[in-house]
C-alpha cells in the first residue's frame, strides 16, 4: 500500500525532472559506466551461487552415480572405512544423522536465542534509559564480531564445566522418565548436540537482536502515543503497538539467524563430539552436523567415494540453507507489504 503511493507522489511532483535526468543519463559516460558496473557486480553474485551449485554437483557426481541420487538421504550410517569401489549397496555414506544433527542443534539454538534476542531488542528500544541504550546496543553487535573459533574455545573450557551440574541433574531426572527419557539420557561427557545448540544460540543472538531492534524501532510514534493515551502501561503498549506489527519481522530475523546456525562450522565442530556413525538419540550425546563432518574429514578423505560423498553433504547443506534463506526473504517481503 505504501510503496505505490510514494512512487506515485514522486512521479506527480518530479515528472519533468525525471525526464531530464533520463536524457542526461544517456549522454554521460560516467552514468553508463556506473550502471554497467553495478549490473556486473550483481551478475557476479548470481554466477557465483550458480557456479557453486554446479561445482558441488559435479564434484559429488561420481558418488551420486555410484550409490544413487537419493540413497544418501535414506541411510543414517556414515562409515567411509566400509566403502568399496565395487559395492553400491548399502550406501556407506548415509547422511541422515548429519541432517538430524544440523536441524537439532539449530532448533536448540533458536529456542534459546529467539526469546532472548526479542527481549534484548525490546530492552534496547523500549525500556533502557537513553544513556545506556547505545552502549548496550553496540555490546550486542560486538557479540557478532567474536570469531567462531573463540566461541568453540569458550564452549570447551568455560561453558561445558558450567553446564555439567545442570545437565547431570537433567540426565538423572528427565533421563529416567519412560519414553521421553531417551531424548535426555546420559552419560554426559560435555560435548553434545545440546552444547553445540547453546553455543549456536549465543552466536546467532546478535543478528536476530539487531534485526528485531530495527523492526521495533520502526513502530510509528503515533501508535505508541495512542497506546499510552488510552492508558496502556509500557508492557501493554509493547503488546498492542509494537509486537503485532513486528511479528513478521521477528520471524524473518529468526530465519536469518537460522541460516547462520545451519552453516556454522568451527565452533560446532569443537563442541559437538563428532560422532558420525549414526544417530544418537539423547540431546546430551555426541553427534555431528553436515558442516562439521566436512571440516573434519576432507583433508584425509582417501576411501573410495569419500571425498565425493563429502561434496554431496555440501550440496544438500547448500540446498537447505537456500531454502531457509528464501523462506526468510519471502516472509520479510510479505511483512513489508502488510
Amino acid at each position: 500500500m505504501m510503496p505505490p503511493a510514494t512512487a506515485g507522489g514522486i512521479v506527480a511532483i518530479d515528472g519533468p525532472a525525471t525526464r531530464i535526468s533520463l536524457t542526461r543519463r544517456r549522454r554521460r559516460p560516467g552514468e553508463a559506466f556506473f550502471g554497467t558496473g553495478v549490473a556486473i557486480t550483481g551478475g557476479i553474485v548470481l554466477v557465483l551461487i550458480g557456479a557453486m551449485i554446479v561445482f558441488l554437483i559435479v564434484q559429488g557426481l561420481p558418488a551420486m552415480r555410484h550409490y544413487g541420487f537419493f540413497s544418501f538421504l535414506t541411510s543414517a550410517r556414515w562409515a567411509p572405512s566400509e566403502a568399496k569401489a565395487t559395492v553400491t549397496t548399502p550406501n556407506a555414506y548415509g547422511i541422515v544423522q548429519f541432517i538430524y544433527g544440523t536441524a537439532l542443534t539449530s532448533i536448540i539454538g533458536m529456542l534459546i536465542a529467539v526469546p532472548l534476542a526479542v527481549g534484548v531488542a525490546l530492552v534496547i528500544t523500549e525500556i533502557a534509559p537513553r544513556r545506556i541504550k547505545r552502549p548496550l546496543s553496540s555490546l550486542v553487535d560486538l557479540l557478532a564480531a567474536v570469531p567462531s573459533v573463540v566461541y568453540g574455545f569458550w564452549g570447551i573450557f568455560a561453558l561445558i564445566p558450567a553446564i555439567r551440574p545442570v545437565v547431570d541433574f537433567l540426565t538423572s531426572t528427565l533421563g529416567t522418565v519412560p519414553v521421553i527419557g531417551a531424548a535426555f539420557g546420559g552419560p554426559f561427557f560435555g560435548v553434545s548436540y545440546f552444547t553445540a545448540g547453546l553455543v549456536l544460540a549465543i552466536m546467532i543472538l546478535p543478528i536476530i537482536a539487531a534485526v528485531c531492534r530495527e523492526v521495533f524501532r520502526s513502530t510509528p510514534r503515533d501508535e505508541r502515543e495512542a497506546a499510552f493515551a488510552i492508558g496502556a502501561t509500557r508492557w501493554e503498549m509493547i503488546r498492542i503497538a509494537v509486537l503485532p506489527r513486528a511479528r513478521s519481522g521477528i520471524v524473518g530475523a529468526s530465519l536469518l539467524g537460522l541460516g547462520r546456525a545451519l552453516g556454522e562450522t568451527i565452533a560446532v565442530t569443537m563442541v559437538i563430539g563428532n560422532s558420525v556413525l549414526t544417530i544418537n538419540h539423547s540431546i546430551f550425546s555426541q553427534g555431528a552436523t553436515m558442516s562439521s563432518v566436512i571440516a573434519n574429514e576432507f583433508t584425509e578423505a582417501t576411501e573410495p567415494f569419500h571425498l565425493e560423498a563429502l561434496f554431496v553433504v555440501g550440496f544438500w547443506l547448500l540446498i537447505m540453507a537456500l531454502v531457509v534463506n528464501a523462506t526468510a526473504r519471502a516472509i520479510i517481503r510479505r511483512g513489508v507489504a502488510v
Binding site: 572405512s81 552419560p187 560422532s275
Partner: protein, 390 residues
C-alpha cells in the same frame, strides 16, 4: 647444535620428572592410589644419541629449497629437522602438516617434492601416482593410551583385548571387572568411560587400530572384520571425535573418565596421564623413547621396499607394542637434477645427524639395522634413469 639438543633433552627430562612428582603428590591420600609413581627402570635417564655417520656422500648442485607435505604425527619432529637443517646446509625445507592421506594425494599430484605418511603407500596408492615411489622410514614413535581419572596416576595397566572392548564401547565403566583385575591395588572410580578418538583421518589412528586389530578379537568383531577394523579412519562405534592430536588431548583433559590415544609428545605437553600396555612378551610397558626403541629390536628381516608393519611386531620383553613408523615418500625417478640432489642430501642428513635430534622432541631414533636399510633406499633414487648417488 649438539649442545642445544642436549639442553632440550635435559629440559624434557625435568618436565617428565616434575610431572611424575606432581602425580605422586596428588595421589597421596588414603582413598586414592597410584599404580606406579616412578617410571619403569628402562625409561629412566636419557639415551645416548645414536651418532649414525653412514650417510651417502653429498650430491653437488642441489636446489636451495624443498617442499613436503603429509603426516601431522611427524610434524613436531619435522620442524626440528627443517630448522636445524637450514642452519647447517642453507637449504630451506617447507613442510606442510596436513595429514598422511593429504600428503599422499599431494605427492600423486606432484605438487610437492616429497610426502610423508604414517601408513606406507599401497600398490594401489602408487598406481595413482606418476611412477614408482621410494619409501623411507624416518623415525619411530609410540602412540600412548592417555586417560583422565581423578586420583589415578600414570601407569594403569591395559591389555590389548581390554582396550579393544573399551574403545568399542563394550566396557563402559571404569570399575569394570576386566580393568580392575588387570590393576590389583588400584581403586578405580565408578565413572562412565568417555572414549576419545580422532575425527579426521590420521596415521595415529592407523597405528592404534592396527594394534587393536592384532590384539583384540572383540574389536575386530565389533568393527565387522579385520579389513575394516584398521585404517586412517574407522567406523567408531562410540565416543567423542577430536580434530588432530590436540583435539583428542583436549577431549581427554576436559572429560573426567576420558580415555584416548595420542602421540607421546602431545601427552607429555598436555600433562596427560597414560597407561602401560601389555606387549607380546606379556609385560606391561610404559611408553617412552627407550621402550619405543625396543619395539624394533629383534626384527631382523625387512622387506626390500621397507614397507614393514612394526606395530606389535617385536617379542622383546621391553618393547612398547603401539609403536609406529612414519615414511618419507619420494618418486624413485626424479626429473629435476637440483631437486634430486637436495632430496637425497636432506634425507641422508635426517637419517644420520637428524636421528640425534629425535629424543629432544620425544621421538625415537631408528634402530641400527633399519637405519642402514633406510640409507640404502636413498641409493635407489635415480635422475632420468641413472642413479643420483654414485
Amino acid at each position: 647444535m649438539a649442545r642445544t639438543s642436549t639442553a632440550l633433552r635435559g629440559a624434557l627430562t625435568a618436565v617428565g620428572g616434575s610431572l611424575i612428582l606432581a602425580a605422586c603428590g596428588g595421589s597421596g591420600t588414603a582413598t586414592t592410589s597410584a599404580p606406579s609413581a616412578t617410571p619403569a627402570p628402562v625409561c629412566r635417564g636419557t639415551t645416548a644419541p645414536p651418532g649414525y655417520n653412514n650417510g651417502v656422500a653429498t650430491v653437488p648442485g642441489q636446489a636451495s629449497s624443498l617442499s613436503g607435505a603429509g603426516s601431522t604425527f611427524v610434524a613436531p619432529m619435522m620442524s626440528v629437522w627443517t630448522s636445524a637443517y637450514a642452519t647447517t646446509s642453507s637449504v630451506q625445507v617447507a613442510y606442510q602438516s596436513i595429514g598422511s592421506g593429504a600428503g599422499i594425494a599431494q605427492l600423486q599430484a606432484t605438487t610437492v617434492d616429497f610426502g610423508d605418511s604414517d601408513a606406507f603407500m599401497t600398490d594401489a596408492d602408487i598406481a595413482k601416482g606418476k611412477g614408482p615411489v621410494v619409501q623411507i622410514p624416518l623415525v619411530q614413535a609410540p602412540v600412548v593410551v592417555a586417560y583422565n581419572l581423578p586420583g589415578v596416576a600414570s601407569g594403569l595397566k591395559f591389555s590389548g583385548e581390554t582396550l579393544g572392548k573399551i574403545i568399542a564401547g563394550q566396557i563402559s565403566s571404569w570399575n569394570d571387572p576386566a580393568i580392575v583385575s588387570l590393576n590389583p591395588g588400584v581403586t578405580l572410580p565408578n565413572l562412565p568411560i568417555a572414549v576419545a578418538h580422532r575425527s579426521d583421518g590420521s596415521g595415529t589412528t592407523f597405528i592404534f587400530t592396527d594394534f587393536l586389530t592384532k590384539e583384540s578379537p572383540s574389536w575386530v568383531t565389533a568393527l565387522g572384520g579385520p579389513s575394516t577394523s584398521v585404517g586412517k579412519t574407522v567406523a567408531w562405534p562410540t565416543g567423542i571425535g577430536g580434530k588432530g592430536n590436540e583435539g583428542v588431548s583436549a577431549a581427554i583433559g576436559q572429560t573426567q573418565g576420558g580415555i584416548g590415544y595420542v602421540e607421546l609428545a602431545y601427552a607429555i605437553s598436555q600433562h596427560l596421564t597414560y597407561a602401560n600396555v601389555k606387549n607380546k612378551a606379556g609385560s606391561f610397558i610404559q611408553p617412552c623413547v627407550q621402550t619405543a626403541a625396543a619395539a624394533t629390536v629383534g626384527i631382523t628381516t625387512y622387506p626390500s621396499d621397507l614397507r614393514v608393519d612394526v606395530v606389535d611386531a617385536s617379542h622383546n620383553a621391553q618393547a612398547y607394542p603401539i609403536t609406529g613408523l612414519t615414511w618419507a615418500l619420494l618418486y624413485q625417478n626424479q626429473t629435476d637434477a637440483t631437486k634430486a640432489a637436495a632430496l637425497v642430501n636432506f634425507f641422508s642428513w635426517v637419517l644420520t645427524k637428524g636421528q640425534d635430534l629425535a629424543t629432544s622432541v620425544s621421538y625415537t631414533p631408528l634402530g641400527a639395522e633399519l637405519q642402514r636399510l633406510c640409507v640404502g633406499q636413498l641409493r635407489k633414487v635415480t635422475l632420468n634413469g641413472s642413479p643420483v648417488v654414485s
